[in-house]
Symmetry: C2
Subunit: 322 residues, 2 copies
């Protein structure tokens, strides 16, 4: 796990909390760091901090290798600036995957770096498949792959975002892999984009919406993983852009950690998120990426602006919901 007991370079004291399940570990981290902010990392090689390009300027190799070096340097700088204000980091897998093998190496580096800083690492991969493929994703993100040449370790993240359209049998191998390693899953229940309405908000003939049906799956899969802190290891992505839906979703999954994207760049405000925090301060995680990473584009030095914006968000949410 990326969250093994290691020196915490951010200066925030982290408890040696690896004994518990994902919900307990998260609750302890949130309390220690007094933060519910998840720092999203979706690096665009064409929009990196200038300092990252300088640092990676001398890297060897072709465009993929050099871009991946610059992306890794950028993420390190962003973490240097903002990690102390956050409880977790959420690398967007697509942004690394598009750089091929060097991108995947950069992702592994970012995951390890964030773990060493005491951050919970949530891979935003929105994976979902059946049978042996679901098992393979479990190995890729949480476990290891047995081979005749020895085990190949996966990324070792703390949590993975998962698309549940394929139903429970597609989720069980991922639940098993996450739980075995003290990790968690965050299932897409109600995403933050306008198009989410098209399928997720549809009302079912039997009553309730598709999102509410997904929320019931989250609750059932998470039931064996509820720890003393009252949080399960199976949580949900519930966009902050549809706060009017949070109450019924919270009722359907009382112990789920809710990841709340859509504050900041996607436009929602920090208000009206109260249902997320019913189980406690760690019941809701507020995700922000571009609002923090590109804060300097309104004027200022990237690291200073990122730190300031992350601190502002942390205080806003902590003030409302701790």
């Amino acid at each position: 796990m990326s969250s093994a007991i290691r020196p915490d370079r951010t200066g925030v004291l982290s408890a040696p909390d690896d004994a518990g399940g994902f919900g307990d570990r998260l609750a302890i981290r949130v309390a220690d760091r007094r933060s519910q902010i998840v720092l999203g990392l979706d690096p665009d090689p064409a929009r990196l901090w200038p300092r990252a390009l300088e640092l990676a300027g001398g890297a060897d190799g072709g465009p993929a290798e050099r871009a991946a070096r610059a992306v890794a340097a950028h993420c390190r700088l962003v973490l240097d600036a903002a990690a102390a204000q956050c409880v977790a980091v959420k690398p967007q897998v697509a942004c690394f995957e598009r750089l091929g093998a060097p991108g995947w190496s950069a992702l592994r580096e970012v995951v390890a770096d964030a773990g060493e800083r005491g951050l919970i690492v949530i891979a935003d991969g929105k994976r979902g498949d059946i049978d042996i493929s679901a098992k393979a994703y479990g190995q890729a993100f949480f476990g290891a792959t047995p081979t005749p040449f020895g085990d190949v370790p996966g990324l070792g993240v703390d949590a993975l975002t998962v698309n549940p359209l394929l139903g429970r049998d597609s989720l069980v191998p991922l639940v098993d892999a996450a739980r075995e390693h003290g990790g968690g899953l965050l299932l897409l229940v109600r995403t933050s984009n306008p198009g989410a309405a098209e399928i997720q908000d549809q009302e079912l003939a039997g009553g309730g919406s598709v999102s509410e049906a997904l929320a019931r799956i989250v609750a059932e899969l998470g039931r064996p993983g509820v720890g003393p802190a009252g949080l399960a290891d199976i949580g949900a992505v519930t966009g902050a852009t549809a706060p009017e839906r949070l109450e019924s979703l919270r009722a359907a999954m009382p112990h789920a950690v809710m990841l709340l994207p859509g504050i900041g760049a996607q436009g929602a405000s920090g208000r009206d998120l109260a249902p997320a925090f019913v189980p406690g301060p760690a019941g809701g995680l507020v995700s922000a990426s571009r609002a923090i990473v590109y804060a300097h584009e309104r004027g200022g030095e990237p690291a200073v602006c990122a730190r300031r914006e992350a601190a502002r968000l942390r205080e806003l949410v902590w003030g409302l919901y701790a």
Copy 2:
């Protein structure tokens, strides 16, 4: 594109068909190769053909590098054996991703190899995300990523399986990326696993099932991409395990290519798939992986058994539906 005009090592004549959209290109390939079989590649490093382990035995590096070499060798051997019986190949991305950066390099190699053999390459990634992340997946699979160090080419596949739970705005960037490069998407509409019933078969209050709502999205997104062959560039995954649903799904998306997993290892038979083939022989693609790759486990030499099983499936489907 992996399908640029190149020598076809399988000995099957391929037309220089890159001018058209995905549907037309597929229709020409199916007619040329007299095959609707999609060879699924989901390599398990613990279950590779023995010859692949011999070939990769001397590879340098750690377990990941050596396993990825063996996986690439295995896929090459499987293609040597069965490619001539197939029209397309479908690498399962999870099985490469779990080997990290070396796995991603092996995937790139397999994609290029299959393209050189005249096969249509369908990346089975079941990706789906919003906004800049959807665009990043488009760059990873179809396009290229602009960076200050030059463009980084993506995998260059012909098609990608996509999870549409996030709605139309999540799909448009992928549609654009695929269409720009003459590629296609296959959206999950009704998957082949038992759990598919849980969400996809739910009846909506407004009438029809979730799958039928997804099928309407497939039809609408594909409408501008219907070519002279009568096939769109946006198709659907519609499991052969629920043949009773194919008729209504075909009615909802008359021009969609239907990818039909679930024959063979997942247990369905080749019968009752007629609705898939209404637009012509290329309207249905029958996917088989373990049934071909592990045919020798019932006794025999791997390559001989794989070729025989692929040929049997090709004749079965071609006989019924060409």
